[in-house]
């Protein structure tokens, strides 16, 4: 069965490849994407794109758990300054395994830039002055699931992981019981169940609210059986860590899909090692299931509340109580007499300690909201994004704890963005306190509103992890409470767009649960747009990346001036200018000390600098839009000597000028 599938997909890949080759004309770029690509197909497309141009190189920065390469494509004109000295944009796709659209957009961005290198003057300038780094697929193992014979949508990588901590690893995943090739949800009639059929859209489920006289009639599970006989269904399937919850800002400690610790996975580590070795990265765009681009941070610096689907969360919640299995109350100690030399300090609990008694509130807390001073740049990028792509609202997006783009801003200190990369065709942007017209108006306050934040985690597990969480990062983690379940809004929008996103409930006789119904959201349908949209979306995102590149700071020495005072004494002055849009460092880049200052140095022996600025001078922040800063040195020198001055902006490039003393 498996072999057969591989043969078919290889054949399909071959056809796509042939088609692509046939359409590729010398010097005019390549055919655009018309389908989602598995790893081998993606690799072939990347290779053929890169081989067709002098402007791009492709390297592997590591391998996934299952041994797939993590590709990075470096784009820039190889003549001129070294790429790592130019201001750079970093584009990331497919950190979440199910967000395969991110790979397609990243691939199309590469194509857009390489095509533009042929005939687009703006792009030619970008490729001469700047660098674009693209990671099309950080989670190649997770992405392969989209191409499996049975489709089960999940974000995580292939790390074997004991999700339910029962000493057995990956022993109870879902099964495609009804043979439709999809893992969906089972609803089981149960008079004491928590859930009822939604009164508005009978396809959907809601949590019954007993205070409104509602009564639950169903229990919900993921499709499958209790493979390990522990009384829970599908609680420990293959795979382990959601890479986009594995990074350092607001890291969700000790949650089962966040990994054992920050940056624990080979994939996340490969990305992180690349980023910290490329301090020239001045802006980040990460395609993913979080958003701060369609809706920029609000005036208090919080990202928009998440909006996720209830139905999968309800199914997840069926296993919430597993963490309480095997928790037994304290037993009576029954007598080991050797309490040897115990006692002496009374209660045994320590209050004040001898020696120091430090203030528990002392010490600085990390920022959890976007700095007010930086919001204009996020707003401007958002406006540009919306006008280029036409995307005004996104479907589902989740809370950003541990997301890579959050690291990019809060710890790497640069403008850093995330977008799901596609919009819902007919969805209205949600206003606070306002529901989508029609159906949703009558929808009473549902269970979703009461659910704690935590993305697609089960409600019960959320409560548990909250209680056991030992490492809060302080304060509200970057915004993102969960709004109402997005089910009705998303489904009606997908319906309106003619996307078959829901598998209708059908009867099935389950081996242990008896008569059940199987149905629910079609895997991948709410996370990825139809394949025919990819080419257009890709072109738009390529254009946005180009816009972002032109927003990067660009620091040059624009004026030099020499004044002779006689006796071998001269004043040398320079002005540097930032002709980009972003400042050389965001305010948070300064606050977090993660962006180096812009440094200007006059290359004479230190003892020849008599007064004025220090030989090596710097400015923490130089705003864009042609802001300037002047530096002046009074030096001792020889008439006719040539003196070099260099400017180094970590995110804005390097420049140098030479003056002659006379």
């Amino acid at each position: 069965m498996r072999n057969e599938r591989i043969c078919i997909s290889k054949l399909a890949a071959g056809l796509i490849f042939l088609t692509a080759s046939a359409l590729a004309l010398p010097g005019s770029g390549q055919a655009q994407a018309t389908s989602y690509l598995d790893f081998d197909q993606l690799t072939r497309q990347l290779r053929s794109l890169v081989n067709s141009s002098d402007m791009a190189r492709m390297n592997s920065v590591g391998t996934s758990i299952e041994g797939r390469e993590i590709w990075v494509v470096e784009i820039g004109n190889p003549s001129g300054k070294p790429l790592e000295e130019r201001p750079a944009v970093l584009v990331i796709g497919n950190l979440e395994g199910d967000h395969v659209v991110g790979s397609a957009l990243a691939l199309e961005t590469i194509r857009y830039l390489l095509d533009g290198a042929e005939d687009n003057a703006e792009i030619q300038t970008i490729l001469e002055e700047q660098t674009v780094y693209v990671f099309p697929r950080v989670n190649p193992d997770g992405a392969e699931a989209m191409f499996a014979s049975v489709k089960w949508e999940r974000s995580r990588n292939a790390r074997p992981y004991d999700d339910d901590n029962d000493g057995r690893i990956d022993e109870d995943g879902p099964e495609d019981l009804n043979g439709d090739g999809l893992i969906t949800v089972m609803r089981v009639p149960n008079p004491s169940g928590d859930y009822m059929i939604d009164t508005v859209d009978a396809r959907l489920m809601k949590k019954a609210d007993p205070t409104k006289g509602e009564q639950g009639e169903y229990t919900l599970y993921w499709e499958g059986t209790d493979s390990d006989g522990d009384g829970f269904l599908n609680e420990d399937g293959p795979g382990g860590v959601d890479l986009n919850r594995n990074f350092q800002h607001a890291y969700p400690y000790w949650q089962r899909d966040a990994g054992p610790h920050m940056v624990s996975e080979p994939e996340s580590r490969a990305l992180m090692d690349f980023v910290i070795a490329h301090r020239n990265i001045g802006a980040i765009l990460a395609f993913g299931r979080t958003d701060n681009l369609v809706t920029p941070p609000d005036s208090r610096g919080n990202v928009a509340d998440a909006s996720i689907l209830d139905l999968p969360s309800f199914a997840d919640a069926s296993n919430a109580e597993i963490s309480e299995v095997g928790v037994f109350g304290a037993q009576q100690p029954s007598g080991f007499g050797f309490f040897f030399f115990r006692g002496g300090r009374g209660s045994g609990f320590r209050g004040a300690q001898p020696g120091r008694d430090n203030d528990p509130n002392a010490g600085r807390r990390p920022a959890t909201t976007f700095n007010q001073a930086d919001l204009e740049y996020f707003n401007a990028a958002s406006e540009a994004y919306k006008s280029i792509t036409g995307i005004e609202s996104v479907g589902i997006h989740r809370t950003p704890e541990g997301a890579f783009f959050q690291y990019g801003y809060f710890q790497f200190g640069v403008p850093s963005f995330s977008t799901p990369g596609w919009g819902l065709p007919s969805a209205e942007p949600e206003e606070p306190g306002e529901e989508t017209p029609g159906a949703a108006e009558e929808r009473p306050e549902g269970a979703a509103r009461e659910r704690p934040p935590g993305g697609a985690r089960p409600a019960g597990a959320g409560a548990r992890a909250g209680g056991g969480r030992a490492m809060p990062q302080g304060g509200r983690p970057g915004g993102g409470g969960v709004a109402a379940g997005a089910d009705a809004r998303v489904l009606s929008a997908l319906d309106a767009a003619g996307i078959d996103a829901f598998v209708d409930w059908t009867a099935y006789t389950h081996p242990t649960l008896g008569e059940v119904e199987i149905g629910g959201f079609r895997p991948y349908a709410a996370t990825n747009p139809p394949a025919e949209d990819l080419a257009g979306l890709g072109r738009d995102h390529g254009e946005f990346v180009a816009r972002l590149a032109r927003m990067l700071p660009r620091v040059t020495i624009v004026e030099t001036e020499v004044t002779a005072h006689g006796g071998g004494i001269y004043t040398v002055a320079v002005e540097i200018e930032n002709s980009g849009y972003f400042p050389t460092s965001l305010q948070h880049g300064v606050v977090s000390r993660s962006v180096g200052p812009t440094t200007v140095q006059i290359h004479v022996p230190p003892e020849d600098v008599i007064t004025g600025d220090a030989k090596t001078s710097s400015i923490r922040q130089l705003n864009g839009s042609h802001n300037r800063e002047r530096f002046e040195w009074v030096i001792r020198g020889r008439d006719g000597a040539r003196v070099e001055i260099t400017a180094l902006a970590q995110k804005g490039g390097t420049d140098s000028a030479t003056v002659t003393l006379r």
């Binding site: 004991d162 901590n165 029962d166 000493g167 522990d230 009384g231 400690y253 000790w254 054992p260 610790h261 920050m262 940056v263 624990s264 992180m272 910290i276 963490s323 309480e324 095997g326 928790v327 037994f328 304290a330 009576q332 100690p333 029954s334 007598g335 080991f336 309490f339 030399f341 115990r342 300090r345 045994g348 609990f349 300690q353 001898p354 020696g355 120091r356 008694d357 430090n358 528990p360 002392a362 010490g363 600085r364 807390r365 209680g467 056991g468 969480r469 030992a470 490492m471 809060p472 302080g474 977090s592 993660s594 180096g596 200052p597 440094t599 022996p605 230190p606 600098v609 710097s618 180094l648």
Partner: protein, 596 residues
């Protein structure tokens, strides 16, 4: 002269007589010697009066591994940035079971390069356990029951830099860091300008314009002048020049981070926790160590030796983490308070409260991320220079020759004969002009004086071995079988953890980082019901266990310390039945009963 032997001859006359008797009798008779007193001949005579560099420690570990090959295994956890092996000694008695079936004590030292003496304590611990195995009953039992993983230096680059170099800037590891943000790495550190082999302090004579003056008590002491007055001296930092010609002195020395802020619990970025690097376990040393930890869940206790201050530290490193759960605190308090009795002048403290806030330190990770009860000892204390109540009282009196800064000079002058201090001497500095260089040598202050080593090493080892002995240890007590009709039996088994530490701490359960204990049944039986017996001497119902697999019961909350619990099974079957309790941090205990 060998310190150990000399000491013995002076103080142990009885033993000396016995030794003479043994020599006269011909071949040494160890059993006779053992009867006569605790002064055994050593199988591998080692002295403990030198500090060893990385190569020296490796050599000593090889010697020990060759001497006791049945117990000792020397492996490398990986390489440091500078390519030095992170040597680890495993102590395990294979005849009492494989490593992973026993609770393990992990001991490391020297994460800060200049905090060297913990490395020697690690070596001493290996040596002491081996020399006394088979001789001292408690040591024999400890080695038979437990596994030890001992890493004498987790920062060998820093250790060698400290020992071979000038002693400056040795806390850090040696991954290059661009401390001044100029795109160059480690290009301008301190320099030994006068060739003295150490980095001294720089002072400059600036009459009437300085911030410091020379003390009336002792011309070697530089005092800050009170506000409103001026002094004749300024201090200009550490010995060094502007190496990279950028007009700044010593602005980018080697490394420049704190290796003990690079672990995975409570990690914070640089602007919150200086020196933490970019992400946890970024450094090759912390990463190699953690790779080992993650594959050795049998580690139930951890000790990390630092210096200085005379402290037995536990987490949390920051107050934000909240307090540990009550049950965990009770365990820590008993260990820590007994530690204070084992280690005079050491205080048992919480890191953030009694020392300072630490984000991403190693013992927060071993406690929170691995579920191992963890301490960090700050070796050596200033109190030990004048270690009596009378002298400490004198130190409170400002006129006493051993108060304030004077105390160090007094100790150096009269106890170490001035070995540790370098007098101020003139020097012509290329940037600062005429200055003077001087100060304390690198081994003084944080490292114990060499002559005190034996006591420091032994007492710290003793605390760590006490901690190791209190790791969970599962065993089976009384069992009963009662036929209740037909083929149905009531089987009761007492399950015990005789030691203080539970098999799973409350924090470990909250964080879900330790595999639950498993209670399994094998044999030709079907388990009908199972439950805990609240009190086997008082008849009553059992606390029924509501799990679907009663032949594999999951116990997430583990087994508390110093507790016996009685499990009752109702089984149908015949022949024999084996009940096994398995705890990853407490070993495996098993019993087989006959059903009749």
């Amino acid at each position: 002269m060998n310190y150990v032997k000399e000491n013995r001859m002076v103080t142990r006359l009885g033993a000396a007589f016995l030794a003479i008797a043994i020599i006269l009798a011909g071949a040494p008779d160890l059993s006779a010697q053992q009867r006569g007193g605790s002064d055994p001949e050593h199988r591998l005579p080692l002295t403990w009066d030198r500090w060893l560099d990385h190569a020296g420690m490796a050599e000593r570990m090889r010697q020990m591994a060759d001497t006791w090959p049945e117990f000792l295994t020397l492996t490398s956890l990986g390489k440091s940035y500078g390519g030095r092996d992170l040597w680890m000694m495993t102590i395990n008695n294979p005849s009492t079971g494989p490593e992973m079936n026993k609770a393990a004590m992990y001991i490391e030292a020297n994460v800060h390069g200049n905090e060297i003496q913990g490395g020697e304590i690690c070596l001493y611990t290996i040596w002491y356990l081996m020399e006394n195995y088979g001789r001292i009953e408690e040591i024999t039992r400890l080695v038979d029951e437990r596994v030890f993983y001992i890493v004498p230096t987790v920062n060998p680059d820093g250790r060698d830099y400290f020992m071979h170099g000038t002693g400056s800037g040795s806390r850090t590891g040696h991954v290059p860091v661009d401390s001044d943000g100029d795109g160059l790495f480690d290009e301008d550190g301190p320099d030994d300008l006068n060739g003295s082999g150490m980095i001294e302090q720089i002072r400059k004579y600036v009459p009437g314009e300085g911030t410091h003056r020379i003390s009336h008590d002792d011309p070697r002491i530089m005092e800050t002048v009170p506000s409103g007055e001026t002094g004749d001296w300024i201090l200009l930092g550490s010995e060094g020049i502007d190496n990279d010609g950028d007009g700044r002195v010593n602005e980018d020395p080697v490394g420049g981070y704190d290796p003990n802020r690079n672990y995975g619990a409570g990690w914070q970025p640089n602007y919150i926790q200086g020196g933490s690097m970019n992400y946890p376990f970024e450094l090759p040393e912390s990463r190699a160590t953690n790779d080992f930890w993650m594959t050795h869940p049998n580690i139930a206790g951890a000790q990390s030796y630092h210096n200085s201050g005379g402290m037995i530290l536990r987490g949390p490193g920051t107050a934000w983490h909240g307090t540990y759960p009550r049950e965990d605190i009770r365990v820590y308090d008993e260990l820590g308070e007994n530690g204070e009795r084992i280690l005079p002048y050491y205080n048992y403290l919480i890191i953030w409260q009694g020392l300072y806030t630490v984000h991403g330190g190693s013992i927060d990770w071993t406690n929170d991320g691995l579920g191992a009860v963890s301490f960090s000892n700050e070796l050596w204390s200033g109190s030990l220079y004048f270690g009596s109540d009378l002298l400490r009282e004198q130190q409170e009196d400002p006129d006493s020759p051993i108060s304030g800064q004077k105390s160090r000079f007094f100790f150096d002058d009269f106890v170490e004969f001035g070995d540790n201090y370098v007098e101020w001497t003139p020097f012509d500095h290329p940037q600062f002009g005429a200055v003077e260089l001087g100060g304390w040598k690198k081994y003084f202050g944080r490292i114990n004086p060499r002559f005190t080593s034996m006591e420091q090493f032994h007492r710290n080892m003793a605390f760590t071995l006490y901690h190791a002995d209190q790791m969970p240890l599962m065993s089976i007590g009384e069992t009963t079988v009662e036929n209740v009709g037909g083929n149905v039996y009531r089987v009761r088994v007492d399950i015990r953890n005789e030691r203080l530490i539970p098999t799973i701490t409350v924090r470990a359960r909250q964080n879900n980082v330790v595999r639950p204990d498993l209670l399994t049944v094998d044999g030709n039986v079907e388990v009908i019901a199972a439950g805990w017996v609240p009190n086997k001497h008082r008849p009553g119902p059992t606390d029924r266990i509501d799990q679907d697999e009663l032949d594999r019961i999951i116990i997430r909350s583990g087994h508390p310390g110093r507790t016996t619990r009685t499990i009752e099974y109702l089984v149908r079957g015949s022949g024999s039945m084996t009940v096994t309790y398995s705890a990853v941090k407490g070993g495996t205990a098993s019993t087989t009963v006959r059903l009749r």
